[in-house]
Amino acid sequence: MIKFHNVIKLYPKGVKALNRINLHILPGEFVSIVGQSGTGKTTLVRTMIGEEKIDYGKIEIGGWDITSIRPSEIPVLRRQLGVIFQDFKLLPKKTLFENVAFAMQVCGGSPKKIKKIVPHVMKIVGLESKIHRYPQEVSGGEQQRAAIARALVHRPKILLADEPTGNLDSLNANEIIELLLRINKFGTTVILVTHNREIVNRLRRRVITIDNGMIISDQAVGKYVL
């Protein structure tokens, strides 16, 4: 599903954010990526969604070589990926429903399709009773769930979560992880970037540890090793 071959990413001033990353993630996997701050985890995510060009190597997503993807093809790629972040990136002046619908509107989704899919994904994330609230009227966990609902509207094959629990207390964080596991059970490949030792250890799934832009460990049933 995701393949990295010898990927190097340099930032200006000689920062080697990714240093010869080799990675192979299979369809349906649930992979945690851990590592200390500034080691290149977010950069890894950004290269996968075409936000950063790499300087060496090759990246394949679902068999598609996106190494030198053209700007006009990036939207096509992004519709196959769901992405969520630590800050939920919801629009404050739109209700949760409108926020999720927005993602479909801007991609040309018909009103009929929007009416069908938005309540469906809202139900998956357990927000069906709060769809008409504004982001500031719900908890952080619920905001993140709305963001996940939005990431699901295009039925992505891969869900990328960059520290989705970073702003949440452990109760809400656990709920989000439960949700991600449920989505993974439906067949979506989930990549979870996290700092949370407790979560990683409890998951008992594949863990990739990055340090200084390099993969220093990749365990099928991993523990937080740092």
Binding site: P71, S72, R78, L91, A151, H154
Partner: protein
Amino acid sequence: MFISFYRVLKFSFQDVYRNIWLSLVTVIILILALFTVNMLLIVKVIGDTAVDAIKEKIDINLFLNNDSEENEILALKAQIGGFSEVREVTYVSKSEALEKFKENHKDNPEILEALRELGKNPLTPTLVIKPNNLDEFDMLINRINSIDSDMIESRNFTNYKVLLDKINVITKKVTDAGLFLSSIFVFISILVVFNSIRISIYTHKREIAIMKLVGASNWFIQLPFLISGWFYTLIGVGFVMIVFYPFLTLLQPYLEAFFVGYNIDLVSYFYTNAFTIFGAEFMVAGFINMLASLLAVRKYSKV
């Protein structure tokens, strides 16, 4: 596709509406720019009308002796008519001259009375010469001056050339000043449009980031801002159109008073040419604004 275009339009309106003050300033600057451009046009129309009117009036009158023979006059007419500088020679006989005089002064009973008291036709036969080309006016005068005929009683040459030159100089000066003013305004409008699009992109930073994240196509993200550029133009040109006709109507009496006897009608000029004038202004201004917007979009909403 259709629904996407509808949404693009909607986003564009939202963008204009949300930064309403900025949009207002943008439109006002555009209106100023368009107004100066149209003022320039007015000056040009007035100048051209004045020049044309005077050119039409330019002729040389050769007043002939009262007792000149008809066939001699016709021979002289033929001679002058043969000059390459001459477009047309008209022979106005004594009686025709009288008719014309009466016609010209039909509203002035005192003159007509004086004429009647004279008892006989005091007017002389005349040859009216119209020049071909104003540039050859001096040459023509020289040639006519060199005709040695005792039929010619007097030669009346008003020097229209000086007058025309004066008008041309004034028109040119006003046009230059207008051109300078217009280019300043056009330049300012480009900056202002660029800046408002930049600011609206900035205000929509979050939306744009999310749109990109969820896979909205680039045209969908950028088109609303380009349309905003056209939208400003539409409002600006529309406003100028609405305001311009009353303005012209106000101006008209002054022009008529100034150009007595000349046919100058700016209102109808701007009516008959409205489509060309405002259409062209809309296209050109819209295109310039779109380029300014495109520049802003390219610069500030990178993928």
